[in-house]
């Protein structure tokens, strides 16, 4: 009754069949709920399209689909203290599994280059030995003695620098993020050691320093942090201290068969751009939607 008295002249006439009229409250409630639902659904879309807009595609139209999804995630506007500021590149790597002989030289070069504690018990790169005829990670062997078995094939796995990195999404304190050039970095001063990123990473690429990392004085790389990595997470950074100064990664350099190619996707003449344009490539766990920045080619 009281509702009737508040009705304005613009309200529908009373003789309409039921269902054609909506009380204002019902209508507003419905609009509110719909808007809420639409907004909730749209927020991730808006966020991701804003991120996509950041990554321009200068002169590499054919790879625009890959580059567009590539951008900063949770980037605080400034990179970590141990790296140069990010440039305009979109870093990527292509690994030729046909060439890889599983010698693990990339693993050793990486350990030396990145000040991985010799007592830490992990390496950034893990080389999987698999049976022929399958890409079967579930039955892969990590602990093989020696590479080069002609009845097997080898696939190195490391941080994929994902465009949609579950580790970055999962970090409760934003201590890890993705720089605009695509490198996922960790702020060692901020990491709270919750290890949720180890849990969220589908590639086993993140490692925790359960011990104080120890390295002989002569072997310490002064360009890479060491002591601040005690009790926090670390992982492959695409050798951020080299690549942002025009160099290549230690693993690319160390590979005796040239199975690794590292470069800039924004540059159409880079090896990675040419490989992605001319060869049929695949990514590990593509179905997870993490958009890794390491491709494999066979």
């Amino acid at each position: 009754m009281s509702e009737d008295s508040t009705r304005s002249a613009g309200q529908p006439p009373r003789d309409l069949p039921e269902g054609c009229t909506l009380s204002r409250r019902t209508f507003l409630g419905g609009v509110g709920a719909t808007a809420g639902l639409v907004l909730a659904g749209a927020v991730p879309a808006i966020v991701s399209s804003a991120q996509a807009a950041e990554g321009g595609v200068p002169g590499n139209e054919s790879l625009s689909g890959v580059i567009e999804e590539d951008g900063a995630v949770n980037y605080p506007g400034k990179t970590v203290h141990y790296a140069e500021p990010p440039g305009d590149e979109k870093w990527a790597m292509v690994i030729d599994v046909k060439a890889c002989i599983g010698c693990r030289r990339c693993v050793y070069a990486c350990v030396k280059e990145n000040n991985i504690g010799r007592n830490s018990g992990f390496t950034y790169i893990q080389v999987l030995e698999m049976d022929k005829g399958k890409v079967d990670v579930e039955h892969a062997n990590l602990a093989y003695e020696q590479g080069g078995d002609p009845d097997k094939w080898y696939m190195p796995v490391q941080c994929m620098q994902c465009a949609k990195p579950p580790c970055v999404y999962g970090c409760p304190v934003t201590a890890t993020w993705r720089d605009p050039d695509g490198i996922v970095v960790i702020d060692y001063e901020k990491c709270i050691a919750c290890r949720n990123c180890i849990v969220t990473c589908p590639y086993g690429a993140r490692h925790f320093n359960w011990v104080e990392p120890e390295i002989a004085e002569a072997e310490i790389n002064p360009d890479v942090p060491l002591h601040e990595k005690a009790g926090v997470i670390e992982k492959c950074t695409f050798c951020i201290h080299r690549t942002r100064e025009g160099g290549t990664t230690a693993c690319t350099e160390a590979c005796p068969v040239g199975a690794r190619k590292f470069g800039d996707l924004n540059d159409p003449d880079s090896e990675v751009s040419i490989l992605l344009n001319t060869r049929r490539v695949w990514r590990l766990k593509e179905e997870y939607g993490t958009e890794p920045m390491i491709w494999y080619v066979g």
């Binding site: 409760p172 304190v173 709270i192 359960w210």
Partner: protein
Amino acid sequence: MAEKAISRPGVKRVIGVDLDFGALRTAGPRYWAFVSLLVTVIGLGVMAWGVLLTHGGSVMAMRDSYPWGLWFTNYMYYVGLSAGGLVVYASVHLFNAKQFAPLSRLAVLQAGVLVMMALLGIITDMERPWRAVWMLLTPNFNSPFIYTGSAANIYMIICFVDLWILITGKGGHKLAHRMTLIALPFAVYLHTTTAFVLSLNKSRELWNSAVMVPIFLTSATASGVALLLICAYVMQRIGAMKFKPSMFRSLSTLLATVIIIDLFLLAVEILTVFWPTSAKPGHALRLAEFFTGEYAIAFLPVLVLGLGAFALLAGRSTRHLPVVQITASVMYVVAIFLKRYSLMAMGFAVDPLGQYSAPYLPSLVEVLIALGLLAVGLLIMTLSAKVLPLRVPEEDSAEPDQVVLASHAPEQALEVG
């Protein structure tokens, strides 16, 4: 009986609560022996934490393959057990379940203390606890940690505020009723977000299932109610409180119902993993470790104890017997601990690159820290049972010192788990 008269002089009123310090003075030697045992265990736990802080995480059995261990198992377990107390407290006010009313203060206190133990478990796991402040300064709202962490903190505060309202009677029945309307949804929210910490990971196949959320809710309720049933029997046994047999019948009916829903959800999950048209190697190979691998020793008892508990409670001719109800409850409290442990291991036994790691068993440091935390919870319960007016006024028959013993029951049952 004379206790009540003697204890009066020692009473101090703090924020409207009559704290009965006089009861501590008259406490017997067995009480103090128990307290000093707890203090010793806490001391050992603090020492173990010191070892952890000075030597780093390598003193724990956790490694990259098992990034979370005993603390996480206990987090899930304690948070779950606390639900039981809240369900009972809420049912008093929401469903007018008057038979549970004498338990309400104890139930709310127990819920708050259990969540506090769960939160302390996180703090003692961190090598640099002060960095936790970043959770407030730069939270990442994509991370389920933010939700479960804040939920547990707020829930703990709600429980203690609730306890205060129940004891002081401020706001009367109306406010107590309204607090239930806040506390119960928050309990559901807490368990949902705790399940999300597991289920929102596409990297961990066996966790990445929406059914994880209802399983968390049913497991929590079942184990909590089972614990409460044990507690109520202990109280009755020592004469602290009197319950009608019909109360136990309805409690065990509730328990049986929740157990069978819990087992049903687990069964459909297992079926989905192994059914030929849905089995994926990532799921099936991982779960197979829990049926035929080294983890079978932890996981198969979950099914056996669960089905056994249900069978005991379902038998028409025996289900009214106290011994049957207690046995079934103990079986399920133990089963849920093993289930939490298995659940933790399901994410980690086979890592994302298909590598199997030998079963995780906590190191001495981890065990001592966990026992220390348990002792903290027990100590709070022990002291507050003497000092706090936990008795609900209507229950005139309850003696203060007997309430003390009674309130140990839930915690002792924890130790069993």
